[in-house]
């Protein structure tokens, strides 16, 4: 994601006002696309561990970001 943002910033507009707003839009779009993929993976029965590995992050970070918190009695992996 960082790479994509750097690329976008480099390719973007010379007016920082527009360029920065474009980067924000791109960051928000990436976050939405990632969440859609995570939702699809969970619907397909993927564990948080497998999703984390595919995203190249730790299981804790993906869990913190996406897992529902208050679900007593239910395994989240």
């Amino acid at each position: 994601m960082t790479e994509a943002i750097e690329l976008a910033a480099a390719a973007g507009n010379r007016d920082p006002d527009v360029g920065l707003a474009a980067v924000v839009a791109l960051r928000e779009l990436l976050a939405q696309l990632e969440a859609l993929q995570v939702m699809a993976a969970r619907n397909d029965g993927w564990t948080w561990e497998r999703i984390a590995a595919a995203l190249g992050v730790t299981r804790q970070s993906v869990h913190r970001k996406y897992a529902q918190r208050h679900r007593p009695g239910r395994r989240s992996t």
Binding site: G12, G19, A25, L26, L29, Q68
Partner: protein, 197 residues
């Protein structure tokens, strides 16, 4: 406005909201604000309020152009640039991505995402539809209050009064640019409402 807060289907408020959304979409804005509702009210010439607005100086073609100017200058009720325009600046085709998302995950995937646990804390972004400006929600709430006070359903005069009583930078900029007398217009709508109740 979410499905939950959207006015009842077929009502005057629903038609006005739909009209405001159309105006915002046609203008390629990323939000719908008080300035777009003004256009929706002004374009209905079969309505008393539409004619009142025209008489007060809100001529539709000129008003549309003025809304474009005000938004482009960053003086509207919402963001200056649309998400699609911003993304195109960095070579990203938002419409193409939206088509891919719908094809892969289904036509309601984004709504489903935000309704799910996974999307619960996800900020809004370019895949969400038009944002409803808080000022527009305020104007609708005022209109609903006045209509309730009058003991009838929301009509276009209630909506216009709600708009004029909302502290909307977009609406004020548009009315000022069109040379509309805000106080005079408000007095005329209020008089009409009194006569009708």
């Amino acid at each position: 406005m979410s499905a939950r807060t959207h006015p009842p289907a077929g009502s005057v408020a629903d038609r006005a909201m739909t009209g405001a959304l159309q105006e915002a979409e046609q203008a390629r804005h990323s939000y719908v604000g008080c300035e777009h509702l003004l256009l929706a009210l002004a374009r209905d010439k079969s309505d008393d309020v539409g004619r009142l607005l025209e008489g007060a100086g809100v001529e539709l073609a000129r008003a549309r152009a003025t809304v474009q100017q005000v938004v482009a200058q960053g003086r509207g009720d919402g963001p200056r640039w649309s998400q699609a325009d911003l993304l195109s600046r960095v070579g990203v085709d938002l419409a193409a991505i939206q088509r891919r998302v719908q094809a892969e995950f289904g036509p309601r995937a984004v709504e489903e995402l935000y309704a799910s646990g996974i999307g619960r804390r996800l900020p809004r972004g370019p895949l969400c539809g038009l944002m409803v400006a808080p000022r527009l929600k305020e104007a609708f709430a005022l209109a609903v209050d006045t209509a309730r006070h009058d003991g009838r359903g929301v009509d276009s005069a209630h909506l216009l009064l709600g708009l004029l009583d909302t502290d909307s930078p977009g609406l004020q900029a548009v009315l000022a640019a069109l040379g509309v007398d805000h106080r005079g217009l408000r007095a005329a709508v209020a008089a009409r409402l009194r006569a009708a109740s």
